[in-house]
């Protein structure tokens, strides 16, 4: 024990009292040159702040993306019909032709029969039309779905209820609005109990459902991927088949075109999350053999989720490198000032050596001082770094997520920076010749 107590560095470990004494000496010296210490630590402050803030913003962005993907349902496989690319050109030829494409009853039946471990297949049809409430109108999607739709897509019914299985069986003209539609068509009164009109049909409103989150990677296609501000109303699938049949007409520049689509969208739910990817492969295979053209699209949210995680990893590496560079710059700043400080305090070093300080004592003193400087910078940096995401969330409306480990990580890096850049000045101080150090003016 007494031997341990003799070595200055070991003494720091075995004697908290000695550590505290060395630290209070360092703090005293730092406090003696307040402005200089503050300016020196500023580099580390910004480095650490950028680590914390960037991690929070990056984490927030990926968190938002992941939430949206989770909304799609991690157990789901989403099939969509899209208009095949080659049928879009050549308007002259296809002018009066009916374009037939997309997911068919045959596909759905085959999936239901041959792929094991899937529970429900929810088909839906989507029509783009104007939705009217008296003289107010909004262009949006009319989707024919099944009553399980909200549960499948993790969408909450905000007011009233979703339509029931009975209403589906009876082909009743009822509908559920999404929030956007409700706000637009019924800005003052509650939509529940009122009616909306689409083409010639009237639908009684039974409830309001929340808007859909922006779908990742589901951009484009007529099959109906929707942004969160797209107006939507949901009607029973059977009602839609009844009223609109299988063929939609749409007026276009230079004529009209007709589309025959059986299902615009279908959701396959896989019972076991671990099997989603393999089941998706099976579904993909069925669709590939049934369709000659690329008139369908498959979205597997869990795959998107994994992709988002990979993207996040890359994002973190890039942000991490930027932060590392700023910490490097901060570290160099500290080293520079410590070297100047060593020269300035040559006399003090000489005195301490004359009074019995070993080289290791001097190393310890200067190293602790540098680490404290970096550590204080680290603490300030964490505070600033926590404030930035708050401000960003507040003023820019961007989600930020501060993970508990990120301030801890940033702070430890600042301390390590202090050690790394403190060793050289500390050794330089310790290796001075005592006689010359005492003579120094």
């Amino acid at each position: 024990m007494s031997f341990l107590n003799q070595h200055p560095v070991l003494r720091l470990v075995v004697s908290p009292q000695h550590l505290w004494r060395t630290m209070s000496l360092g703090l005293k010296t730092i406090w003696l040159h307040k402005l200089r210490s503050f300016l020196t630590a500023l580099g580390v402050v910004f480095g650490v702040a950028s680590v914390v803030a960037m991690l929070a913003i990056g984490e927030g962005a990926s968190h938002e993306a992941q939430e949206q993907i989770k909304k799609l349902g991690s157990q789901n496989i989403i099939l969509e019909s899209i208009k095949p690319p080659d049928s879009q050109g050549g308007a002259g030829e296809t002018r009066s032709m009916v374009i037939e494409y997309g997911i068919t009853t045959r596909d759905i039946e085959q999936i239901r029969r041959t792929v094991p471990g899937i529970s429900i297949v929810v088909p839906s049809r989507i029509l783009k039309e104007n939705i009217w409430n008296l003289d107010r109108k909004i262009e949006g999607q009319i989707a024919g779905v099944l009553p399980v739709y909200p549960e499948m897509r993790n969408r909450k019914v905000i007011e009233g209820r979703f339509f029931s299985a009975l209403e589906l069986d009876e082909n009743l003209p009822v509908c559920v609005l999404n929030q956007t539609t409700a706000k637009k068509l019924f800005p003052l009164n509650t939509p529940e109990g009122n009616v909306v009109r689409v083409l010639g049909y009237y639908y009684k409103i039974v409830g309001v459902i929340e808007d859909e989150g922006q779908r990742i990677g589901g951009e484009g296609g007529d099959g109906g991927s929707s942004g969160d501000s797209t107006a939507q109303i949901f009607i029973p699938f059977t009602t839609m088949m009844d009223q609109y049949g299988e063929t939609f007409f749409r007026y276009k520049t230079g004529g009209f075109e007709a589309e025959k689509v059986q299902f615009h969208e279908a959701i396959v739910r896989v019972n076991d999350t671990a099997q989603v990817v393999s089941r998706a492969a099976a579904v993909r295979q069925i669709l590939q053999s049934n369709h000659k053209k690329e008139d369908w699209k498959i979205t597997v949210p869990i795959e998107l989720l994994r992709q988002a995680e990979r993207t996040k990893k890359i994002f973190s590496i890039v942000l991490g490198s930027i932060a590392a560079i700023s910490l490097l710059v901060g570290g160099i700043g500290i080293m520079n000032i410590m070297l100047a400080s060593v020269t300035e305090r040559t006399r003090e070093i000489g005195i301490r050596r004359a009074l019995g300080a070993r080289q290791a004592d001097i190393v310890t003193q200067f190293l602790i001082e540098t680490v404290l400087l970096a550590g204080v910078g680290g603490v300030l940096g964490v505070i600033v770094g926590l404030a930035i995401p708050l401000a960003v969330s507040h003023f820019a409306g961007v989600t930020t997520v501060v993970k508990a480990w990120s301030p801890a990580l940033a702070f430890s890096i600042s301390v390590l920076t202090g050690i790394a850049f403190g060793i050289y000045p500390a050794r330089k101080a310790a290796r001075m010749n005592p006689v010359e150090a005492l003579r120094h003016e």
Binding site: K28, L32, E348, A354, L355, R358, Q359, A360
Partner: protein, 251 residues
Amino acid sequence: MQDPTAPIIKLVDICKTYQMGEIESHVLQGVSLEIHRGEYVCIMGPSGCGKSTLLNILGCLDQPTTGDYFLGGQNVAHLNDDDLSEARCKNLGFIFQSYNLIQQLSVIENIAVPLYYRGASDREMREKGERRASQVGLSHRLHHKPNELSGGQQQRVAIARALVNEPLVILADEATGNLDSKSGQEILGIFDELNAGGITLVFVTHDERMVERCKRIIRLRDGVLESDTIVKSTKQKTDRAFATEHSISTF
């Protein structure tokens, strides 16, 4: 620990050579001397005679090129840096011309620095520091910073610091050089007290007043001993009276 009549400092044929480019400069050329417990020695000589180098070697801050140096019976001429530091810490007290206090530390903290490097506890540092401070008459200034003190007071802090580890010998380099005559007188009074209490003092000085009080004068010239004379001080009594008059407490 050893024979009390044995010298506490024994230099045997100490040589010190500095290499300055291609020129070798022989600063000390075979200095041998012994200093016993309780002596009050002044080392004198013209500038460039090697007395600073000799003091540095005596203070274990520098090492001789050849020769042996026994400090309290231990040969310290060829120790490594760590052991040399320990020898300084245990056996030596330093007093400098420009006081050399650490500016960011208070009086008591400055006094306790040598204890700190010996691994003393906080309590030991506080108790011994306070005792030495009162010994040099600075009990009322324990928590002042050096720049709040006069030159004489600063030098008294330095003396307390030199005493705190109970060293074998106190070395001083022009201890009164920066002081006005009144403060210098006070400091000299303290030295007399210390020496009367059995403390060994080895000083490099030009101060005539100090030369008048010391018991032995060593003169150096061109790196060799020119003379080594034992003197009998006649002024000691009057100065002792001066010291008591100025309420400087003794052990």
